[in-house]
């Protein structure tokens, strides 16, 4: 156990602080966009529960983070690090800081902004799996899982990546480029969220009637393409701010690098939409709106790791690749692997986040960067998926994830909230329940 030395980075100027704060105030639009997408891709009889769940999970995650997680996330000044010494280098795996953000008000603005960024990130991680469990995941279980993620899982990854932990110091300790590059949270937010989504769909199981005993899976389209596509537009605004804020806070990018970061973010999403549009047009004869939305979002996710460090052409290519594999992987998961993921979060956040991290290693020009990205991927995927699966399995025993069959039949709105999202609409009978 060793005390953490003061942060060596130069303090931020007043302009950088003000700009970062302004950008962080816009970041929640990314969360709002994903919440709209989660709601639109679910059924109409679960829409109110879905949107309330997004709010509830974000709130619970923020509370759990301030009560427990923030002490271990490493963004606050001071504290103690638990390091493993091997081969002449220290690998800082754990951090214990002051509880309940004590002393944060007197800390440098840079540290306060870092904590704010982590608050937004933990809310984002918590609501990514919510869409995957749509139409069968109970709200109390969702809140409990958000608390576990915010208190235990996210702080460890955030410390490794952003708080000066062993992944961030791979460049200093082992000459691996600039250390693990993840300014916008492709790994700490999206890959981790995708992992949580995968654990949820495995534990909760598929929706009733999704995979009949014979034949292909039943199509259960989302109830509002308008929510989904408008959510994509809202998410873009938040993502532009998110990647720029991450570049300032974690890469100490100069202000002159921010426009190119925003351009790369837009190019990645555009490239992804173009290729998803083409792939679905080729496969189905007409472009698929929900898959195109997934592709757009996958492009934004892929840009999170690398928008500040790659060229515009590389960003376009990265987004284009994400747009190609997104519809194919969504189809593979559903048809071949029987994974019922209504929002495609496993693909959109998990796989695209993974690809973004790899792409940062391929296209960033520092030697050793690719190895640093691989080590980061192995850490998040190899340690966190088993840990999340174990924690969620235990949680499922205490707070059952899945709603009872009657609740699934009448819809989560009536079952959990006592009223629907669209009380004046006539909701037709679901043919899959015959």
């Amino acid at each position: 156990m060793t005390p953490i030395p003061p942060i060596a980075a130069a303090p931020m100027s007043d302009v950088e602080v003000a700009l970062s704060f302004a950008l962080l105030l816009v970041c929640p639009l990314a969360i709002a966009g994903v919440a709209l997408i989660n709601t639109g891709l679910g059924r109409s009889r679960s829409a109110a529960q879905a949107l309330l769940g997004n709010l509830a999970l974000a709130s619970v995650a923020a509370i759990a983070f301030v009560l427990v997680g923030a002490s271990f996330a490493g963004a606050e000044p001071g504290g103690w690090a638990l390091a493993v010494h091997a081969g002449g280098s220290a690998l800082e795996f754990f951090h214990i800081g002051p509880p309940f953000l004590r002393g944060l008000a007197a800390a440098a603005p840079q540290a306060q902004l870092a904590v704010l960024f982590q608050f937004l990130s933990v809310a984002f991680v918590a609501l990514i799996p919510w869409g995957s469990g749509a139409d069968r995941w109970r709200l109390p279980a969702g809140c409990a899982s958000a608390a576990v993620v915010a208190a235990v899982v996210f702080p460890a990854v955030a410390y490794w990546t952003w708080g000066g932990g062993w992944l961030a110091r791979l460049g200093v300790n082992f000459s691996l480029g600039a250390g693990f590059l993840d300014a916008g949270g492709a790994g700490s937010v999206h890959l981790l969220g995708g992992i949580c989504a995968l654990a949820v769909v495995w534990i909760a199981g598929p929706r009733r009637g999704k995979f009949p005993k014979e034949g292909l899976s039943t199509a259960m389209p989302g109830h509002s393409a308008v929510y989904v596509l408008f959510g994509c537009m809202v998410a873009l605004v938040g993502w532009l701010a998110w990647n720029a804020a991450g570049a300032i806070l974690w890469l100490r990018a100069p202000l002159s690098a921010l426009p190119i970061t925003a351009i790369n973010t837009l190019l990645s999403a555009s490239g992804a939409l173009a290729t998803t549009f083409s792939v679905t047009r080729f496969r189905f004869g007409k472009p698929d709106a929900s898959l195109c939305a997934n592709g757009w979002l996958a492009g934004l996710v892929a840009s999170s790791a690398c928008a500040a460090v790659v060229s515009p052409i590389a960003a376009l290519f990265i987004g284009g690749v994400a747009g190609v594999f997104t519809p194919l992987l969504v189809e593979l998961l559903e048809l071949a692997l029987s994974v019922d993921d209504p929002t495609g979060a496993v693909t959109v956040h998990g796989a695209a986040g993974l690809w973004g991290l790899l792409a940062a290693g391929v296209f960033a020009s520092q030697p050793g960067q690719f190895a640093a990205q691989l080590v980061g991927i192995a850490a998040i995927l190899g340690l966190m998926l088993p840990l999340v699966y174990l924690l969620f399995s235990i949680l499922n025993r205490l707070v059952p994830f899945r709603v009872d069959p009657d609740g699934e039949r009448i819809g989560m709105d009536l079952h959990e909230l006592g009223g629907g999202a669209y009380p004046e609409f006539v909701i037709h009978r679901d043919e899959s329940y015959r």
Binding site: A86, G87, S89, L91, L170, F174, S175, L176, W202, G205, P206, R207, R208, G209, F211, P212, K213, L337, S338, V339, P367, G368, F370, A371, L374, V375, I377, A378, A379, L381, G382, L383, L385, P386, Y389, L390, P405
Partner: protein, 60 residues
């Protein structure tokens, strides 16, 4: 089988950490790190296969 896969995944992670400590040469280190990631992927594949329901099994 799914639990076996979940146990293999951390083993891959420990291989990547071992590569950092044991191999100062960048080429050898990268090769060993890639092996570690491959083991993680192998564990993931086994876990995914373990979660595929058997054909004709009772489903909700």
């Amino acid at each position: 089988m799914k639990y076996a896969g979940l146990l293999v995944m951390p083993a891959g992670f420990f291989l990547t950490v071992a590569a950092l400590v044991l191999f100062p040469d960048p080429v050898q280190r990268l090769a060993f790190v890639i092996c570690g990631v491959a083991v993680v992927c192998l564990g993931l594949v086994v876990t995914v296969r373990g979660h595929i329901p058997a054909r004709g099994a009772t489903r909700p």
